[in-house]
């Protein structure tokens, strides 16, 4: 517990936050890297996944890419990229590695979300004469939203974690506080850096979970259907599952 007290002491010391290698600057770097790489990865992965899910192809690719992402060590990729000629370009190896590791969860979850969209509803929408584009935007996308957001959440957590590791081959970010502490045998600093990283990861996860709940287009509709009246037997009530996936445009045109 002494280590924790010392770590909080480190965090409460203003001098540790100031300067070119201070925690404030490192936090800024970390947030910048996370935001940029998450945005780039979303821009690459989501259109591909949504399109593949819409046309129903490439399922094996979407799942296998996720398995491969798990088997390849992040640390190894970071070091390998740093040793290539790319290593001379500042944060470029870090950015490439972060995007690479953010793509699999985005791709897989969005693809699965599109495929898991209730087939009955999709068929009904198609039967109503919706075009492919309308189907994608008004039916499949709202239904896939929770899983797409789950993908963004795990990608964000992944990016925060990988950005921390980027400090080992010399990249910026909060991991530098930890590695610098290790190099100078400064345990309070190591623990303080770890606390900052852990809190940041949990905050990012919590914020995105909140956003997922708040912006879910189906949130209002997902509540269980209230009983029709006191006398209606349970099995005659409208099942909640049937009432749930009825998107806005499914109403009569």
């Amino acid at each position: 517990m002494g280590a924790m007290t010392d770590a909080f002491g480190w965090l409460l010391t203003g001098a540790n936050w100031a300067g070119a290698a201070g925690a404030g600057r490192r936090l800024g770097e970390h947030l910048f890297l996370t935001a940029v790489c998450l945005a780039v990865a979303c821009a690459i992965a989501l259109p591909v996944a949504l399109w593949l899910g819409h046309i129903g192809r490439g399922g094996a690719l979407a799942v296998n890419i996720s398995n491969a992402g798990r088997a390849v060590p992040t640390f190894a990729v970071l070091v390998l990229l740093t040793l290539t000629p790319l290593g001379g370009h500042g944060e470029l190896p870090t950015i490439i590695a972060l995007v690479l590791f953010a793509v699999p969860p985005l791709l897989t979850n969005a693809y699965v979300g599109m495929r898991e969209a209730d087939r009955d509803v999709v068929e009904a929408a198609r039967g109503m004469g919706m075009s492919g584009r309308q189907l994608l935007a008004r039916v499949e996308l709202p239904l896939a939203f929770p899983l797409i957001m789950t993908g963004i959440r795990s990608a964000a957590v992944q990016v925060v974690a990988t950005a921390t590791l980027a400090a080992l081959p010399g990249g910026g970010g909060l991991g530098r506080i930890i590695t610098a502490g290790f190099n100078t045998y400064n345990t309070p600093q190591v623990v303080a850096g770890a606390i900052l990283v852990a809190v940041l990861a949990l905050l990012v996860e919590a914020l995105l979970a909140l956003a997922q709940w708040r912006f879910d287009p189906m949130r209002r509709r997902r509540r269980p259907v209230p009983p029709r009246g006191p006398g209606v037997p349970r099995r005659l009530r409208m099942p909640a599952a049937r009432a749930r996936p009825r998107p806005e445009p499914a109403r009569r045109p």
Binding site: G2, A3, V63, S66, N67, G69, R70, A71, V72, P73, T74, F75, A76, V77, V79, L80, T82, L83, F101, P104, P105, T108, N109, V112, R115, E116, D118, P146, L147, T150, G151, R153, S154, V157, Q158, V160, A161, T162, T164, L165, A167, L168, P169, G175, I178, T179, G181, F182, T187, V190, V191, G193, A194, I195, V197, A198, A201, L202, E205
Partner: protein
């Protein structure tokens, strides 16, 4: 002579490196396997009672799943750094961290597996006079085995990949070689160690798949017919079955994320 020169030229691929440092590579691989496997084994031993407790008491399930998810979210470097003051610079730091990560996947998958046991099977066993323990070990756990093994595969592959980060405390198996190669800009060492890491993960994954096939011979016949449908149902319900967890994480996940979740950092 030409082979000697690949060391001096610092080439990416260098058979001479593998030949001259085979002992070092073997030692690192042994440490890597030891750390990864012992942490998954301990994780399984801890996860099983946790999952059983969570199933028995619904009030216990929320906190267990919540806490393991929170632990899963913590980046690996931070996890090892936080455990460092507790254990000092030792392999326990890495093993403990990996155990905590594996809990998320394992507890979720064991729970999902136990919940997928058909009530008919349970009632039939009870009717035949099975006690609670015999019911658990002879009926419920075998039927939960596919989900459990899927979780075990995810946990093992993540553990093999995350062991490399243990290099920060000096116990990273092949990660130590990557770390060393990073400092000395030794390309072939980094590439060889990285490739061995991926190879280890793939070998364990295939091995566990084989074990699963051997342990559940009854699943083989119906596999091709029902596999697709079952996976769709699991994910649609938002359950963390093997396939849904696979989709997450995926998760990583971290995750677990996970979640899936893919946990690679």
């Amino acid at each position: 002579m030409s082979e000697r020169s690949c060391l001096t030229a610092n080439a990416w691929v260098c058979p001479e490196y593998v030949r001259s440092r085979s002992q070092e590579l073997l030692d690192a691989t042994a440490q890597h396997v030891g750390i990864a496997l012992s942490s998954v084994a301990i994780g399984l031993l801890v996860a099983l009672p946790l999952a059983l407790l969570a199933r028995r008491r619904k009030g216990f399930a929320g906190p267990v799943l919540g806490l393991t998810t929170v632990l899963y979210t913590v980046p690996s470097l931070a996890m090892f750094a936080l455990l460092m003051p507790v254990f000092g610079l030792s392999a326990s730091v890495v093993v403990t961290g990996l155990v905590l990560y594996s809990l998320t996947v394992l507890v979720r998958n064991i729970l999902a597996g136990l919940e997928s046991v058909p009530d008919e099977a349970r009632e039939a066993a009870l009717g035949m006079g099975y006690g609670p323990w015999r019911l658990l070990f002879e009926v419920e756990l075998p039927l939960a085995l596919p989900a459990l093994m899927a979780g075990l595969r995810i946990a093992t592959v993540s553990a093999v990949s995350l062991t490399t980060v243990g290099a920060i405390v000096g116990y990273g198996g092949l990660g130590n070689l990557i770390y060393e190669g990073m400092d000395t800009l030794f390309k072939s060492q980094v590439l060889t160690a990285s490739a061995l890491c991926v190879l280890l993960a793939v070998v364990f994954d295939v091995l566990l798949l084989w074990v699963q096939r051997r342990l559940t011979p009854w699943a083989r016949t119906s596999r091709t017919r029902r596999g697709g449908r079952r996976s769709r149902r699991g994910a649609a319900k938002g359950l963390d079955t093997a396939e849904a967890a696979d989709a997450r994480e995926a998760a990583g996940a971290a995750d677990p994320s996970g979640n899936r979740t893919v946990k690679a950092g």
